[in-house]
């Protein structure tokens, strides 16, 4: 049976891994290759590299470090940040990335998702959604890497997730902004809502703080994968121990 995936997310800024709370106050966490290798050795099922300022700076992910990662890493990895054309995606996939994740550019040009799926297959087209709870509903936000540039969109989160799937996305990463960096648990209610409208894999993001949070998001929200950053980077939750715990709780994981 397919294992639930644990995915460390490395926020990249100027070629280094950084971490902030609610996307602010970034601190240096280390070298990309070193951290990628550490997670590979610890049993991460996949790694996401997110160039947090590429989109708001109007550039795309650098292929230079993507190739370096592809050479040393033998688990799948996804890159995100400012990918806004077929050509951007092609360069990254040819450099060795397994998937590309689109966020703001997909909102600005939804047709791009279909073009990417036709060219490379939907299995490598991931849509990242930054979503915030407002007035009893959930809404998609844009340019969240830089708080001064963050803005709302016309999309309800559930509608955008459904539309992205229809257009050709092969996976959705739902980042629940109210929870991000707070370590109080994933937003189960929101994830359940989005899970219900998708037939493609859903990755939970934002809020992991304890092993129970991972159990709950797999068991209660039915997500395919859980993404986290700070609890993995700080060593607060070592992946091998987390996998042992999840296995005893009946969650199927890759040992």
């Amino acid at each position: 049976m397919l294992a639930r995936r644990l995915i460390p997310c490395l926020d990249v800024r100027d070629g280094r891994v950084v971490k902030g709370v609610q996307f602010r106050n970034h601190v240096d966490m280390g070298d990309i290759i070193e951290l990628a290798q550490r997670y590979r050795d610890e049993g991460a099922d996949e790694i996401v590299f997110y160039d947090i300022t590429a989109s708001s700076d109007g550039r795309t992910v650098s292929t230079e470090w993507v190739t370096r990662v592809a050479k040393v890493i033998d688990i799948p990895f996804c890159v995100a940040g400012g990918i806004r054309s077929l050509d951007d995606a092609r360069k990254l996939l040819h450099s060795g990335a397994d998937k590309v994740s689109l966020n703001s550019p997909a909102i600005e040009n939804p047709a791009l998702l279909g073009e990417l799926a036709a060219e490379f297959g939907s299995q490598c087209v991931v849509v990242g959604i930054d979503s915030r709870a407002e007035n009893g509903d959930y809404f998609v936000k844009q340019f969240t890497g830089d708080p001064t540039k963050t803005r709302g969109t016309r999309w309800r989160t559930v509608d955008w997730a459904r539309e992205a799937q229809k257009l050709g996305a092969g996976e959705v990463v739902l980042n629940c902004m109210n929870q991000d960096g707070e370590r109080k648990g994933y937003d189960l209610a929101q994830l359940k809502l989005v899970r219900a409208v998708l037939t493609i894999p859903l990755v939970a993001s934002g809020g992991a703080g304890a092993p129970e949070h991972f159990r709950d998001v797999f068991r209660d929200a039915g997500v395919d994968a859980a993404l986290a950053a700070s609890v993995f980077h700080s060593g607060a939750i070592p992946i091998p121990k987390l996998k042992q715990y999840l296995a005893t709780e009946g969650v199927i994981v890759r040992p």
Binding site: G96, G121, Q123
Partner: protein, 197 residues
């Protein structure tokens, strides 16, 4: 020399890097003579079956691949193209393994694409499967898959059983990505490199 067929698709670099990690040099090539002369050939591929076949046709590689006598390993789409045909785009493919590639059925709790680490149901012993058991996990990412039949060395289950490892004569194929399947994937590539020609 090991040749990786340059079918022009994405993600070909990963296969070459995986071989480098095993200390094996390979040549990414669409040159018919180089491919025919290679000791072993890998047919990689990511993307859609119609695009994959179109690229092979455009480079004149269809008859070349069909006529190879040395060990050949298809990976992911490369494996799917070994079958007779694919429901993806309703195309005829290489016809080296009988069967038609079909879309995996989606249902509640079974998401498609099939994405992640799954186990194999080992059906027939083969040097290609040396070192693996029912607990070994490989990384899959695909929406279409080939049927289980007499040429299936190992199947996998995701909503339905499908061919995860096939072999017919000198042609083998794996639906998962050995280059992205950690230590197990490296072992699979090693097994292929050491298979008797």
């Amino acid at each position: 020399m090991l040749a990786i067929v340059d079918s022009g698709g994405a993600n070909i670099a990963s296969v070459r890097f995986a071989l480098e990690r095993l200390g094996v040099q390979s040549e990414l090539t669409a040159d018919l003579a180089v491919i025919r002369a290679a000791a072993r050939v890998i047919l990689p591929g990511v993307g859609s079956a119609p695009e994959g076949m179109k690229r092979l046709q455009a480079k004149g590689l269809v008859d070349c691949v069909r006529g190879l006598k040395q060990p050949v390993l298809g990976i992911c789409l490369g494996m799917q193209l070994l079958f007779d045909s694919s429901a993806e785009g309703e195309i005829a493919s290489l016809g080296l393994v009988p069967g038609r590639v079909a879309l995996l059925p989606q249902s509640p709790g079974i998401t498609v694409p099939h994405m992640g680490w799954n186990t194999l149901d080992l059906k027939r012993p083969s040097p290609l499967l040396r070192g693996f058991d029912a607990a070994t996990r490989f990384y899959f990412v695909h929406s279409f898959a080939g049927p289980v039949n007499e040429f299936t060395l190992a199947s996998c289950e995701h909503g339905t059983a499908f061919a995860a490892v096939v072999q017919r004569g000198n042609f083998s194929g794996v639906q998962f990505h050995p280059e992205r399947s950690g230590a197990a994937g490296a072992q699979l590539l090693k097994n292929f490199l050491e298979m008797p020609a």
